[in-house]
């Protein structure tokens, strides 16, 4: 159990590519932090720097009270779960679980106790004597988890651990990992591409872009008050509609006073666009329907508004019966408008 602190951490590959630009982050003891961001934004790099698999160009990584910059991965007392599991193919499941403990010269009875315990928690007892290749993807994933928990490390590091599983199993394992992490109370850093994982698992969500942190916060806080245009467009599927403020003002016949002059772009969540007028102060736009995507529980409606370059997406519950070419009235409550600075793209207080 320990906290993890990164201060001014920077990573430059071969003196050329800078993957992480001086980044600060503190992770409290027992917390599960999820790193999300587009491909290539440096999530894996950051995780591997914490693990000790990648050197730290400058800055400091602390686990607990120890500065670990120069420590080998094993000395940092962390456990890592890899995307492709990286189980040792020639060892049985039991040997896979034991290997890390044996290398630390854990006494035999203690090894057996921990392996039995981990196998029980993860329900992999029937497979202990099988080789990894005789297991299904989901079972391998459990073994990979088991290898992490038997070590009882200070922190778990996950690099997209569920991305090789099918959607259903992913949902199941997501809940399970989250429960396990709560029970054990082990500090965890979890890298993912999956919005659902990010939103549901995180105590603290870190949105990264281009080697920098865009926003840190509780998942709902990040979702409801994105700190920048990038976060607004990235979080949610689909992300916010981003509309230039002057264009919107022209079409809607003015914007509410809460939208200040500095506002360059207005963000609107698809679920905040209503087809019927709400009884709050709102904007109204006339639009023409382009396409409807039926998900079952909800529908995504794509429409274009005369005078706007990009389409507007809206989310409406149930099945939306509409034909392309149909005219729609879009209603957006004033309170649901997110304003972003014209120059910096940062959120304007509202």
């Amino acid at each position: 159990m320990a906290s993890i602190t990164l201060s001014a951490v920077k990573k430059t590959y071969q003196g050329q590519v800078t993957a992480i630009h001086g980044l600060d982050l503190s992770i409290a003891d027992g917390e599960l932090v999820v790193l999300v961001g587009p491909s290539g934004c440096g999530k894996s790099t950051l995780l591997r720097m914490i693990a000790g698999l990648e050197t730290i160009t400058s800055g400091e990584v602390r686990i607990g009270d120890t500065m670990v910059n120069r420590l080998e991965p094993a000395e940092r007392d962390i456990a890592m779960v890899f995307q492709n599991y990286a189980l040792y193919p020639h060892m049985s499941v039991r040997q896979n679980l034991e290997y890390g403990l044996k290398n630390r010269r854990t006494p035999r009875p203690e090894i057996d106790r921990r392996v039995t315990e981990a196998a029980r928690i993860l329900e992999i007892e029937p497979f202990l004597d099988r080789k990894p290749r005789q297991l299904s993807g989901g079972q391998r994933q459990r073994v990979a988890m088991g290898r992490a928990i038997v070590r009882q490390p200070k922190a778990f590091l996950f690099d997209e651990p569920l991305s090789n599983l099918d959607a259903k199993l992913r949902g199941q394992m997501r809940v399970e990992i989250r429960r396990l992490q709560r029970t054990l109370g082990t500090t965890s850093v979890y890298v993912t591409h999956d919005q659902l994982e990010a939103m549901t698992m995180a105590d603290k969500l870190v949105v990264m872009n281009g080697g920098r942190i865009e926003q840190v916060g509780r998942p709902l806080e990040v979702y409801s008050r994105p700190a920048s245009l990038f976060v607004a467009g990235f979080m949610g599927s689909p992300g916010m509609n981003l509309i230039p403020a002057p264009a919107l003002a022209g079409i809607a016949g003015g914007l509410p006073d809460s939208v200040g002059p500095a506002c360059g772009t207005i963000g609107i969540r698809p679920e905040d666009v209503a087809l019927t007028a709400p009884d709050r102060p709102h904007l109204r736009l006339d639009a023409v329907l382009d396409a409807v995507e039926l998900v079952g529980s909800e529908s995504l409606v794509y429409a274009h508004v005369a005078g706007l370059d990009s389409e507007v997406v809206l989310r409406t519950p149930g099945i939306h019966a509409g034909e392309p070419g149909q005219t729609l009235g879009l209603h957006i409550a004033h309170a649901d408008l997110h304003c972003f600075d014209a120059e910096s793209g940062r959120r304007l207080a509202s």
């Binding site: 000790g52 890592m80 890899f82 040792y88 290749r133 070590r151």
Partner: protein, 279 residues
């Protein structure tokens, strides 16, 4: 060419069978010769088996032909040479492949290319300079002289390098997180994973060492270091007395045996390795 005409089929079979006879006939003659006495053999090559097989097989072990050391000593020398070359080559190449694939050190690429270039320089090509070096180091007439120049091997290094590169990096990283240092990773993970590659190389390299003829001929002048391949030739070339063809042929057939046996013995491991990939 794929027409199904009976006459063509007959013709192709005829050619094939003729080919087999040409290749197999000398071997057949040698095997038949194992079963006769030297008296019979000196008056012509019989084509039907005789009754002397067992006595020849016993006599050959103490057979001491003129101009060559006793048969058993040559078998010992050849075995030792082939084994040293096999073990030495595998040990050196797996270690150098490990270094090249898993470690960053200055001139790593250069080291790799130098190893690569030696692929184009087998012993036969560099035989004079190699002889010079071995002679200057005083290694003529020794097992070291017989084996060391043949051990440095680019092919095996290459093979292991290719194999190591197919092992995902995460395997090494998982081992590092699990507290395995470079030696432990090599011993606990890389070696067991390379088992089938090692078996395959054992076969190839043992046979490579066993059939060496030119190099032993060059570096050994004293009889006690003669190997079987060169010894057999010496036996047949002896001048003063009638050659004992029955024993010479027995020696020849026995010399063919180890490669055959090792292929048969290792084949099962070979196939097993191909069937159950462990990656």
């Amino acid at each position: 060419m794929v027409e199904n005409r009976p006459f063509l089929g007959f013709l192709t079979h005829l050619v094939l069978i003729a080919g087999v006879i040409v290749v197999a006939f000398p071997v057949y003659v040698a095997i038949i010769a194992m079963t006769h006495t030297d008296v019979t053999l000196n008056s012509g090559a019989p084509l039907l088996p005789g009754a002397e097989l067992i006595s020849n097989l016993i006599a050959v072990w103490t057979f001491d032909p003129p101009g060559a050391p006793p048969f058993w000593l040559m078998v010992w020398n050849s075995t030792l040479m082939a084994l040293i070359i096999m073990v030495g080559k595998i040990a050196i190449s797996i270690i150098s492949a490990y270094a090249i694939v898993y470690f960053r050190f200055p001139f790593r690429t250069l080291a790799f290319w130098i190893i690569f270039i030696t692929l184009m320089l087998p012993v036969e090509v560099r035989i004079i300079p190699t002889y010079e070096v071995v002679a200057n180091l005083g290694m003529l007439n020794s097992y070291a002289g017989l084996t060391i120049p043949l051990i440095a091997s680019a092919t095996a290094t290459f093979l292991f390098r290719q194999f190591f590169m197919t092992i995902p990096d995460e395997m090494m990283e998982a081992a590092r997180v699990d507290g395995a240092g470079p030696l432990k990773f090599f011993r606990d993970i890389l070696l067991p994973l390379s088992r089938t590659n090692i078996a395959a190389l054992c076969i190839i390299l043992f046979i490579y060492g066993w059939v060496q003829y030119l190099w032993p001929l060059l570096v050994t002048t004293r009889e006690e270091h003669f190997t079987l391949m060169m010894g057999v030739r010496q036996m047949a070339g002896a001048q003063e007395v009638d050659p004992q063809w029955n024993l010479i042929m027995t020696a020849v057939v026995l010399a063919m045996l180890p490669p055959v046996l090792i292929v048969i013995a290792m084949q099962r491991l070979f196939v097993k390795g191909l069937v159950e990939t462990e990656k």
